[in-house]
């Protein structure tokens, strides 16, 4: 290759940059839409054409976290003046926050659903990635009888749309009392992600030269020690990538969460749209719920970005 770039190369680069920008805008547009709606006043959320410039409001988030009811008449000036700022923004929308007999603010269902989502997604990700890593190591390093068949069998669990088994699963779960329970969804998501995790981790494990473990074995370590001290750190990149994918799958899962849970173990995805139905649809509250729901995945991916990008073992072994 010439060291000096030709004009056609420069032209190609410009076209490529424009293409990347266009694709990026297409991908970011829905996120912008959700984020902007989450901060819009209710009356601007559904205007046609869409309102782009507006005074951002925090009221959708206040509404998201509280139980509210419609007011027949506006509050008295004294009542309005005595209310804290976050209650006033609800008054401004013609609603009031529901309080119990002792005057305590009633929370909406959102925080507990959000917590359920976190518990279920994190636990099932840890389980799927953990078991997947061990399984993949076994397949990668030892002679397993019928290895190809077993791996195919593991993958075959993903060869049909999961909702196909939703009804039988629901009946089975009801029979053993797992419906509407955290454990039930954790088992479901772990089982669902495990095949993916095994296959992805096997690819990463195969990439780690087995000389590393052999060196550790000769250096005086058992295979288990070699696995934890050498293989696991080397597989960190793969584990991070697998974990991100498993987490996103479990976090976003909608169909089973809708069917299997209704209150106690309900996750955020089936809960957020259910808010459409109570009173007039308030799209700003739904957008606020969705916006907060996006954050954990974004944060998780952001924290693991170094692992996702780094090829740690590059250049340390001579072939």
């Amino acid at each position: 290759m010439a060291a000096v770039r030709t004009s056609s190369e420069i032209g190609f680069n410009r076209v490529a940059i424009i293409a990347v920008l266009v694709v990026t805008i297409i991908f970011l547009a829905p996120i912008y839409w959700i984020a902007s709606t989450a901060f819009k006043p209710r009356n601007l959320a559904t205007t046609i054409p869409p309102t782009v410039v507006f005074q951002p409001e925090i009221s959708p988030f206040v509404k998201l976290f509280t139980k509210r009811s419609q007011m027949r008449s506006p509050p008295s000036p004294e009542e309005y003046a005595a209310a804290p700022w976050w209650e006033r923004v609800v008054f401004d929308g013609g609603e009031k926050i529901v309080r119990d007999g002792k005057g305590q603010v009633q929370w909406s269902g959102y925080p507990s659903r959000f917590l359920n989502s976190l518990i279920i997604a994190i636990t099932s990700t840890v389980l799927a990635v953990g078991m997947g890593t061990f399984t993949a190591y076994g397949f990668s390093r030892f002679k397993v009888k019928g290895e190809a068949d077993l791996l195919f069998f593991i993958l075959s669990t993903r060869m049909l749309p999961p909702v196909v088994v939703a009804i039988p699963m629901f009946l089975m779960y009801r029979a053993v009392g797992l419906n509407d329970s955290h454990v039930g969804l954790i088992i479901l998501y772990t089982a669902f992600n495990l095949s993916f995790s095994v296959w992805l981790m096997k690819g990463f494990m195969d990439e780690i030269p087995k000389e590393y473990e052999e060196a550790a074995l000769v250096d005086g370590y058992t295979r288990m020690e070699a696995f934890f001290k050498i293989v696991l750190p080397e597989a960190a990149t793969g584990i991070a990538a697998t974990a991100v994918f498993c987490f996103i799958t479990a976090w976003n899962e909608y169909a089973f969460a809708l069917i299997m849970t209704n209150r106690r173990a309900q996750t955020a995805p089936p809960f957020i749209p259910s808010q459409v139905g109570s009173g007039l649809p308030d799209w700003t509250v739904i957008a606020a719920g969705t916006f907060l729901f996006l954050l954990p995945v974004a944060i998780f991916t952001f924290l693991l970005r170094n692992h996702l990008l780094r090829g740690m073992s590059f250049g340390a072994i001579r072939k």
């Binding site: 052999e214 060196a215 550790a216 250096d219 250049g315 001579r318």
Partner: protein, 367 residues
């Protein structure tokens, strides 16, 4: 004091036998090189000693105790891999300290020993670096350091400098030898490079298709190859081997190769030394330096024509046509002007080897 002994070791990979009844005794402080082509079983033998491969039959003994059932970790043997296998996520210091961390040594002891090994190998300034930042030679020094630091009973090296470029290989070869003399530990070194083997070994073990061919000092292996395989594997340029016919003449013995018109002259003693094999299928082996050539005719020299001349700097290799056969001779550089020159050649009887063609075995003729 570490002696290693292999007794009747057999190893199969499925139906393929990769080690066939291997018997070998390695004495304390000895530098042994396992030499052979790829797939000859030398690496498998080394890995079996390290405990990375199981053996199907036989015993591996260290200081008289069978260890074939012990795990690699319990054998107290260190190994340097061809790929170096430095742990990429650890610094050089941590890499060298890693074998010590498996023992119950205190932090300060470990630190002291890591620094002392690093000093010996002149890698003290690299301790903070990651392996990926090292050059090939330094990676290898670190790998050796990691093997040495535990003061193991024996050092195993699997083509440790095979991945380096030629110049560095030569440097590291000398360094490994120096280190062995200084540290004096029983070492088994695997290579396919016979020059490496010759320059490093106390004794060379030559293997072919899982069978041990010959064990001996570099000089023994070079000067008295046990069979045709060893004769042609050891030495560069390769030994000339040609089917030979031995005939008695009035005053001497004539050895004809390649159905040439005349034979090379050998002393009568050859007949008795061949011990009845004279009439059988014989092969003559002669290294290029054993083919003597001159420009003018002389007693015992046959007229031949030069074919190809390969100048190699300090000497030339000249292909000579003898009957239907080519003999390669080693000459002073520039001795022959080019192809097609008429010269006179003879074979130095003292450097000639005779082999039984059927079995390939050397007949042990020394004139």
């Amino acid at each position: 004091m570490t002696q290693i002994e292999l007794r009747g070791v057999q190893k199969f990979f499925g139906a393929v036998q990769v080690i066939k009844d291997l018997n070998l005794k390695i004495s304390d402080n000895e530098f042994i090189v396992l030499l052979g082509q790829s797939g000859c079983g030398k690496t498998t033998t080394l890995r079996a000693i390290a405990g990375l491969e199981t053996i199907d039959e036989g015993d591996i003994l260290i200081d008289g105790k069978p260890i074939q059932h012990l795990k690699a970790a319990d054998r107290d043997i260190a190994m340097v891999f061809q790929s170096f296998s430095l742990y990429p996520h650890m610094s050089v210091y941590e890499n060298i300290a890693f074998p010590l961390r498996a023992t119950r040594k205190s932090k300060s002891e470990i630190d002291q020993e890591v620094r002392s090994v690093a000093k010996t190998l002149q890698i003290s300034d690299l301790l903070g670096k990651k392996p990926s930042a090292l050059s090939g030679g330094d990676m290898q020094r670190v790998a050796i350091g990691r093997a040495l630091v535990r003061r193991p009973k024996a050092m195993l090296m699997d083509e440790p400098i095979g991945a380096l470029d030629a110049k560095l290989r030569e440097e590291m070869r000398a360094e490994i030898k120096r280190l062995h003399i200084k540290q004096g530990s029983t070492t088994i070194y695997v290579t396919h490079d016979q020059i490496e083997a010759m320059s490093l070994a106390d004794r060379i073990v030559i293997m072919h298709e899982g069978v041990l061919q010959q064990v001996g000092s570099p000089d023994e292996v070079y000067s008295h190859p046990a069979n045709l395989f060893v004769a042609q594997f050891v030495g560069s340029p390769v030994m000339n081997v040609a089917d030979a016919a031995v005939a008695e003449t009035a005053s001497s013995v004539s050895v004809t190769v390649g159905e040439a018109a005349a034979g090379f002259e050998f002393p009568r003693a050859l007949l008795s030394k061949l011990n009845g094999h004279a009439g059988g299928q014989l092969a003559l082996g002669i290294r290029p330096e054993g083919v003597l050539i001159r420009h003018d005719a002389a007693e015992g020299f046959l007229p031949v024509e030069t074919q190809i001349v390969e100048p190699l700097g300090s000497f030339d290799i000249v292909d000579l046509k003898v009957g239907s056969k080519m003999l390669r001779a080693r000459t002073k550089s520039g001795f022959v002007s080019g192809p097609g020159e008429k010269v006179f050649a003879r074979i130095d009887p003292a450097q000639a080897h005779f082999f039984d063609t059927a079995s390939g075995k050397s007949l042990g003729v020394r004139l």
